[in-house]
């Protein structure tokens, strides 16, 4: 009897483990490649939002990476090849009490790779501010959409802070 209970518990444990792996795989298949790359880093809070709403008419997939403290913020920006002058601008803006938002294009799913001059290259829009130590990676479909998103988020930061 005791042996049967032990076998039952082992069976339930294995079943739970298999079920957890299946759920985790299903979750990861519905998030962005950027999310998958950074989700395991304990120093970062990573989120993926499908169909994030911008204003009344635009929805876009976005991955957000929030750094937990100011010390790690500049380290993270350098790791995605943000220009040192941009980092300096944001630092100065913070000291003066100004609001500062930076934007640039990056190669799709690779926020650390600057685009080349190829016209058919697929791009993401990255947007970040020291105000909340967050980098947004928007999966944009066109430059027009990128402009609308950038305008919206800049105004949002200016109004909020």
């Amino acid at each position: 009897m005791k042996k049967n209970v032990t076998i039952l518990f082992i069976f339930i444990a294995i079943l739970s483990l298999v079920f957890s792996v299946i759920v985790m795989r299903l979750h990861l298949s519905s998030v962005s490649d950027v999310y998958r790359r950074y989700a395991g880093d304990e120093k970062l809070a990573v989120a993926f939002v499908k169909d994030y709403r911008i204003g009344d008419s635009i929805t876009v997939d976005v991955t957000t990476i929030t750094v937990k403290d100011s010390a790690s913020w500049e380290v993270f920006l350098r790791s995605i090849n943000v220009n040192e002058l941009t980092i300096e601008l944001q630092r100065d803006a913070k000291k003066k009490g100004n609001i500062s938002v930076s934007t640039a294009y990056r190669v799709k799913n690779h926020p650390e790779i600057l685009p080349s001059r190829k016209t058919d290259e697929q791009l993401d829009l990255i947007l970040f501010s020291y105000q909340d130590y967050t980098v947004f990676i928007f999966d944009v479909e066109s430059k027009k959409q990128a402009h609308l998103i950038a305008n919206y988020k800049r105004k949002d930061y200016i109004n909020k802070f």
Partner: protein
């Protein structure tokens, strides 16, 4: 007709025809203002290495061409400053950086987006005390840029 009046009449007729043949259209100031608001017209004062120029640019396509030329000059080490009535722009000669300043929010977004499309990393800074927007566009390394020469 008496002969002494004939030259006067001929002169008057000549003047009448000359004036009628002029094709210049004069619009009133309200119409001119309306045209400028709705058509794409920019009156620019710009400096290249401390030499001042004035230009009026018609059409957004021509504006883009002008901007491309200015950027090419900055990439070749020239100091460029661009001014409109409410927008000023200048570059840091030692680096591939272009700076625009304005108190007009719409213009600020437009400038920033134009420079992002050209491959720059752009920071918009807003000073709540003065209401001024500064767009700082940082380009790729000089070694990556095209070596256009302006004749």
């Amino acid at each position: 007709m008496k002969s002494k009046f004939k030259p006067i009449v001929m002169l008057a007729a000549f003047c009448f025809v000359a004036i009628s043949c002029q094709k210049e259209t004069v619009v009133d100031t309200d119409t001119a203002f309306h045209l400028q608001q709705n058509a794409f017209v920019r009156c620019i004062n710009y400096n290249i290495d401390d030499v001042s120029f004035n230009v009026t640019i018609f059409g957004e396509h021509n504006w883009q061409l002008f901007l491309d030329e200015m950027i090419a000059l900055t990439q070749n080490g020239h100091k460029v400053t661009i001014r409109r009535s409410d927008v000023s722009a200048s570059n840091d000669k030692s680096r591939n950086v272009v700076v625009f300043e304005t108190t007009n929010e719409t213009e600020a977004h437009k400038w920033c987006n134009e420079m992002i499309d050209k491959g720059y990393e752009v920071t918009m800074t807003y000073d709540p005390r003065t209401g001024k927007y500064t767009c700082t566009a940082i380009g790729p390394d000089r070694t990556d840029s095209q070596s256009d020469t302006i004749s």
